[in-house]
């Protein structure tokens, strides 16, 4: 059906692209919020992979990939909330969200 219209490799390429964009954002940005956004992008790329591999996998009728993805989104939402909370606390504490300036846990 849809899968036959668009081959699996297309989804995987899109996912890899989104992941790379996210990774690049997470690595290059100095602002913690933008790093978080990058991490979210990578997570979503992973979700996309889950859905795609489920849809083109041996048992597309079992809904396993979908359930997995929904759990993953829920966990990602919680993680984002925690992450943003942390960032706010760090900002309040250090008056900055620049990750290079926050290095007090250096060994």
């Amino acid at each position: 059906m849809i899968g036959q219209i668009t081959p699996l490799i297309g989804y995987l390429l899109v996912a890899a692209l989104v992941f790379s964009i996210g990774l690049a954002g997470a690595l290059t940005r100095r602002n913690a919020i933008l790093v978080l956004i990058g991490i979210e992008l990578m997570l979503n790329a992973a979700n996309l992979n889950l859905i795609a591999l489920w849809r083109y996998g041996p048992h597309p009728e079992l809904l396993t990939g979908m359930i997995f993805a929904i759990f993953s989104i829920a966990v990602a939402a919680a993680e984002a909330a925690v992450g943003l909370g942390l960032v706010i606390q760090v900002h309040r504490h250090a008056r900055t969200t620049d990750l290079d300036a926050i290095n007090r846990m250096k060994g």
């Binding site: 690595l27 990750l99 007090r104 250096k106 060994g107």
Partner: protein
């Protein structure tokens, strides 16, 4: 002598015998209660002691009356109450009492007489003490000890078991020690107390050995137990059959061991040194313990175990048994030793008493001498002879000591007779009673008890089958006694006052007991005259009647005349030397001027103390030094060696610890620190650096996976 004893053992003890234990128990209980009282409860403590002892006296009199009434009905009373104290896991082959240690008490003429005497004299001395100790701070402590003493002494008397007797005996020794050292702030009193305790302990060690031996031989320590007691014929036969060393039978050897204990307590010759020093205690104590009762305990002990001492004596024909009840008993080794020691002590102590200046020391040596008489009387004449002198002596010597106490009290603590004098008019009551006591002690004829009791001993000595020497020794003792007592009385009561502060008569609480004792010092003689030997018959359980014939015995009147003459001679000599003009304290004694060489020796108490000083004491010093040296050098060296060994071992351990264990640990820590430092450099604290490494690692992993799946 034991053939004359007709005691019928009664199986059922009478009520009074059943509660005989109360007599010693009451004063002991009073002592226990007094011990818990505070120092300020003077009246309570004295009342408690008085009341308990009064009850004891009452019970003693009841017991005495019971024994007398039984005797009057022709049955000599000997009632015992025994009980098992503890079981011991030993089987000795005798009829009963095997494997158990029994205690008990006995009511017989001997214990009845002694109970009455001890409780009566004690009560009088208690009353006297209230006056004498009136200014004493430790009044309650004094009465506590005094009550304990009275209880223990009554226990000695009532005991039917040699073990119980020994327990009370040691308690008596303890209270003696406590009371001699009552004024513990005086070094002399403390030393005297120690000396008394240790010296009597010397005798008690042998006594204890005798007890153990007796128990091993007979399996019982009861005196009387319905035929199964240790001094009843069955056991004695066994003891006679058992041989000991040096030709003695076991009976004789045990008897001698027990006599050692008696000699220690009663101040017989080799062990007499403690008694004069014991006068450091308060005077009522000297009167009660060191004159009337405790020192007589040794004599009583010999009287109690007399069947043992006399066991195996060849019995004389009954024809020698005269009407007056005097007989020359067959004798044994043990009794011979008792006699010789007693006779020697009698003369020896009397000699020393001549040259003493302390009023109490004179009396102390006199006591030793009289105890010698008692021992000799026991040895030669049997229980009744020795015990009669014990009873009469208890009264007149207590009287003399209390009189001396009254004198000391009146002279404000002065004890040197040379600083007294002329007290006849200042202290008339004391003088009168003291004179009675002094005449009784000298054995003034007919009127005084001492004459009769001493005569009994002399009579026994005259008939003694072994030797005549003790008789002459004792006669010499009589002469000396009269002499030194005259000297003392002349010094104290006659002449003129040589002290500083004038003397005054003591209060009635002190003189009243003196009067009572003075009465008995005279009257007691009546129960032991040859015409009416009531006391002797009572002790032996024989019938008695009054007959003038008693005096008609061959030689008796002569003896009495001789004894009276000797007494008069002594009194006359004493008066000749000291009557009228006693020397001033600074001047030498009259005897010193006459026979200076003898005086020096007697003044120095014949150097017995010095002799012990250079032998026994010096030996102990040397021994202690040797032990000290051994301790320091030998054992100390061993200990120090072991200690240094351990020290070295510890040093080695420490070296290993610091260098090996600690060093290794420190090195390890250092290395870990360096490693940690290296790793810490990776931890830049920049999250993105970590992420970068992570991404690189994932990319590398992916590349490896892809590359490996290709090939």
């Amino acid at each position: 002598m034991q053939d004359a004893v007709l005691f019928t053992p009664q199986l059922k003890a009478s009520p009074i015998a059943e509660i005989l234990w109360l007599i010693p128990a009451l004063p002991v209980a009073a002592a226990a209660v007094t011990a818990l009282l505070g120092r300020s409860r003077r009246k309570t403590s004295a009342t408690l002691a008085m009341v308990s002892l009064s009850f004891s006296l009452l019970l003693s009199l009841l017991a005495f009356a019971h024994v007398v009434s039984g005797w009057a009905h022709g049955a000599a009373v000997r009632e015992t109450v025994n009980f098992t104290w503890m079981q011991v896991g030993m089987q000795v082959g005798t009829q009963s009492g095997a494997g158990s240690v029994d205690l008990g008490w006995v009511l017989d003429p001997l214990s009845a007489v002694m109970l009455v005497m001890v409780s009566f004299v004690s009560l009088l001395i208690f009353i006297y003490s209230i006056g004498y100790m009136a200014h004493e701070g430790n009044f309650t402590r004094f009465f506590c000890f005094l009550s304990l003493f009275a209880g223990a002494m009554l226990g000695v008397v009532a005991a039917n078991s040699l073990l119980l007797l020994f327990i009370c005996w040691e308690l008596v020794g303890l209270t003696s020690y406590l009371l001699i050292g009552f004024w513990y702030e005086r070094p002399a009193a403390v030393a005297a107390a120690k000396k008394a305790f240790l010296t009597t302990r010397m005798g008690d060690v042998f006594f204890l050995l005798g007890i153990v031996w007796l128990f091993a031989q007979t399996g019982t320590l009861l005196f009387y137990n319905h035929g199964a007691g240790s001094i009843e014929p069955t056991a004695l036969a066994g003891l006679l059959a058992a041989p000991a060393a040096l030709g003695l039978t076991a009976a004789g050897a045990i008897g001698l061991l027990i006599f050692c204990g008696a000699a220690g307590k009663s101040g017989q010759f080799p062990l007499h040194v403690w008694l004069p020093d014991a006068m450091e205690g308060p005077t009522p104590v000297s009167a009660l313990i060191h004159a009337a009762t405790m020192v007589a305990a040794g004599v009583f002990l010999i009287a109690r175990v007399y069947p043992l001492m006399a066991a195996g004596a060849p019995l004389l024909a009954t024809g020698v048994l005269t009407q007056a009840g005097r007989l020359a008993a067959g004798t044994t080794t043990a009794l011979t030793v008792v006699t010789w020691v007693g006779a020697f002590t009698a003369v020896f102590a009397a000699l020393i008493a001549v040259a003493q200046n302390d009023i109490k020391r004179i009396l102390a040596y006199s006591t030793i001498s009289q105890l010698g008489y008692m021992m000799a009387g026991l040895g030669m004449g049997g229980v009744a002879v020795g015990l009669f002198h014990l009873i009469t002596h208890a009264f007149f010597k207590a009287l003399l000591f209390m009189g001396a106490g009254s004198v000391i009290h009146g002279c404000h603590g002065e004890q040197d007779v040379r600083r007294m004098g002329g007290l006849r008019s200042d202290m008339p009551l004391t003088f009168l009673t003291y004179a009675i006591g002094m005449l009784a002690l000298c054995g003034f004829p007919l009127l005084f008890s001492g004459f009769w009791s001493k005569d009994g001993i002399l009579e026994a000595a005259r008939h003694w089958s072994v030797a005549r020497t003790p008789f002459y020794m004792l006669v010499l003792g009589v002469l000396l006694t009269a002499f030194y007592m005259t000297r003392q009385v002349a010094y104290v009561f006659f002449g003129y006052w040589r002290g500083s502060k004038s003397a005054q008569e003591s209060p009635a609480v002190m003189t009243a007991p003196l009067g009572i004792l003075a009465f008995f010092a005279m009257a007691l003689g009546l129960i032991g005259t040859p015409a009416w030997p009531w006391f002797r018959a009572f002790l032996d359980g024989r019938a008695v009647g009054f007959m003038w014939r008693g005096f008609m015995e061959p030689g008796l009147l002569t003896l009495m005349a001789v004894s009276a003459a000797v007494v008069f001679l002594g009194l006359g000599l004493g008066w000749r030397f000291y009557g009228g003009q006693a020397p001033r304290p600074e001047e030498p004694d009259i005897l010193e001027k006459t026979v200076p060489w003898a005086w020096a020796g007697l003044r120095g108490r014949l150097y017995v103390d010095e002799f012990y000083g250079v032998t026994v004491v010096a030996f102990y010093r040397w021994w202690a030094r040797a032990a000290d040296w051994l301790d320091r050098r030998l054992w100390g060296g061993v200990v120090a060696g072991v200690a240094s060994l351990f020290g070295r071992w510890a040093g080695l351990s420490r070296f290993l610890d610091t260098n090996v264990v600690d060093g290794g640990f420190d090195k390890g820590c250092e290395e870990l620190g360096v490693g940690g430092g290296l790793l810490a450099r990776v931890q830049t604290g920049r999250v993105q650096t970590y992420l970068r490494i992570l991404a690189g690692a994932v990319a590398a992993l992916a590349a490896i996976l892809i590359w490996s799946s290709r090939s």
